[in-house]
Symmetry: C2
Subunit: 406 residues, 2 copies
């Protein structure tokens, strides 16, 4: 008998028919002799609807109120899904974040989990009840509702799996697993049987939408075995774990891309210590995450260009801040390019293989794809390219690194 | 400086534009130097939407789950309304039932309030914050969410007003106050300046939808001054209080009607002790509220007819139970009539005036309106009539008791 946490995303609980299908799957897992804990997201579209309502009222909604508003979506699906399981003759009950004992800090809309008490959850399991947990939420020390930010329900599932030492944490979504590239772009993209936490982390941070990086970090930290699979069929999915059994064979695991990028370049920045800190402190002060940063080598006039990328949503704000700081610093101005995308290759194998970067740059060059920025880590190489060439870049890299073969 | 509780119903917070209008009214009240506590219902239609979702899943949704589901509607409006008040530059924060400290029993979907702790609410007021409370909900001893049943948000408002000894509790709705009859039926129906708790209770129980009886009972018990008024204009509304200043003048205060009635008649019931108890115990066992009960004087064959009414929603279930019990008792069967309505006259004045009942019956008879059942209390007389004659009955009674004059 195993303890299995099953997390169902928004498309998997998009309507009551889908919730009934989820209940069937949960009950089938229980019938095999397993204990199951279900974690649910809000119905697809609900969160966007709440955000739209808030923005009809104010441009800058209070984050404490936003959290109460947003947390409603998961509460609704948890109650309905519990009913669907009960309808199949199994004992089930819903749990809010508070009832699970998910204690967070007070950073509303992006709270961090500090502790999970879970005693009530354990009691329910002991009583052979199937708990259905409202994902994405907890409470802070003041007993106010907090939400966990993007990927929050995945994080709830992984955190519960860690707290209860579950045997496995299944993440049900509308794709069959983690692919070597986006199958909508690369038709022969291959579903991976398994992937390491580190590679999955890079894939997530590089734009693969299957899992949010935060939940993968959590899984890695507590060694939770994650499986990403589809709630629409019975395909086996992809295992995310410590050891990738195929690791030795392949150099590159996958190609990721992210069109949610804006590039800003500050021209002719005086090359003296502390300048970069001044710029990025100002941006961080506005709660904007900077992704890639590239600074060129100083040229003969003692100045340098600094380029960085932020998400599209933060583009305008980052541009305004940067322009203001730039004026104070006496640069030659700032330009912004929203027509860019980040294309990346990921693989723990590249650590021990030479020439991977060269092969990537050469491949893109041959196709006439200009590289505007480059950024590397131990297990990934990212290039900023023209957004119109994204698909072409992904395809050619998937091809040249022979990812379809596995 | 007064402490004012303002409760806004579903039509008053039906969309974000309406919530902004509510915020304007709340802020205007605060600007006059008052402390304000706001209590909100779910957006009009939301609760029905949740009920429909649950019924897509199961015919008999679990009540604990139903409560988690239903309570979401008020949480959503409380967060959005707090944002709307903040947008006007005033400090505001939402409160869930739990955060207000509304402790209830465990009768899910119709919980009774046992205690209100309210310390956090008081702190918020001391800090000059405008609290926006999600109506209709509390938590039980297990920390599970409960809802208060029909009229629940009114009850929340009155209970908070009682707990904090508020100077007044304003119930904002889509009508301007309590009328002598439904203005859609009787064009010269008059809005009352004031009405006593007892009369309001009768009006509520007799089908006037302005206030739910339970909140009026609560207000009477704790002597909370209620004002029913419209959130769509600035008309003064109707005061519900201990003393009706106009009480002496008028015999009849208003005419109420209720089309949500089904009449059941059990024919030739053996006339021996305990029979009525057997029948009504069986019905109560199915959680069906019986409204009027009439038993005719036993006829020469030692048997009697028993008629009673239940709400339309309970009609089918009551019929099935009654038929089963009737067979066991050896009656001549049960018949059900769903084409009935209850028309009532209400007034504390009738206690000291003779002939009110006679005048009512005579008036209806003159118009050819047949009375199927009669039930009286100290301050009301109700008649069951054919549903098609409802409007005519209400009009003629409003006229004969000269209610338009005031």
């Amino acid at each position: 008998m195993a303890l299995i946490v099953q997390k169902y995303g928004g498309t998997s609980v998009a309507n009551t028919e889908r919730m009934k299908a989820v209940a069937e799957r949960v009950v089938a897992t229980a019938k095999e002799g397993n204990k199951v804990i279900v974690v649910v997201s809000a119905m697809a579209g609900e969160t966007d609807k709440f955000v739209a309502l808030a923005h009809q009222i104010t441009d800058s909604p209070d984050e404490r109120e936003m959290d109460l508003l947003l947390s409603s979506g998961e509460r609704i699906t948890s109650a309905l899904t519990a009913m669907a399981i009960q309808k199949l003759g199994y004992s089930s009950m819903s749990f809010t974040g508070r009832q699970v004992g998910i204690m967070t800090d007070s950073s509303h809309t992006k709270a961090l989990i500090e502790n999970i008490e879970a005693s009530r959850l354990k009691t329910a399991l002991d009583e052979n009840k199937i708990p259905v947990v409202a994902g994405f939420q907890g409470i802070n020390e003041f007993s106010d509702v907090t939400t966990l930010g993007r990927g929050g329900s995945d994080t709830t599932a992984v955190a519960i799996a860690a707290a209860l030492k579950a045997d496995i944490c299944e993440i049900y979504t509308d794709v069959e697993g983690v692919y070597t590239a986006d199958p909508r772009i690369v038709p022969d993209a291959r579903k991976m049987e398994s992937i390491s936490y580190d590679e999955m982390l890079e894939m997530a941070s590089l734009g693969s939408k299957v899992l949010h990086g935060r939940s993968v970090e959590f899984a890695k930290k507590y060694n939770v075995h994650l499986v990403v699979r589809s709630s629409f069929n019975n395909a086996p999915g992809t295992l995310v774990t410590k050891e990738d059994r195929c690791m030795e064979k392949t150099v590159i695991t996958g190609v990721a891309h992210d069109k949610n990028q804006v590039r800003l370049t500050i021209m002719s920045v005086p090359d003296r210590p502390g300048i970069a800190a001044t710029i990025f402190n100002a941006i961080a002060g506005a709660n904007i995450n900077v992704d890639m940063i590239v600074q060129n080598i100083s040229s003969h006039d003692q100045s340098t260009d600094i380029s960085f990328t932020v998400s599209k949503a933060d583009g305008k704000k980052a541009f305004d801040i940067t322009r203001k700081v730039s004026e104070e610093l006496g640069t030659k101005g700032v330009n912004m390019n929203a027509e860019v995308a980040k294309v990346s290759i990921v693989g723990v194998g590249m650590q021990s293989h030479f020439g991977v970067a060269a092969k990537m740059f050469e491949t893109l060059a041959k196709k006439g794809i200009n590289i505007m920025m480059i950024s590397t880590s131990e297990i990934k190489i990212s290039c900023i390219v023209d957004v119109k060439q994204t698909e072409e870049a992904v395809k050619v890299l998937h091809d040249v690194f022979e990812l379809a073969k596995g």
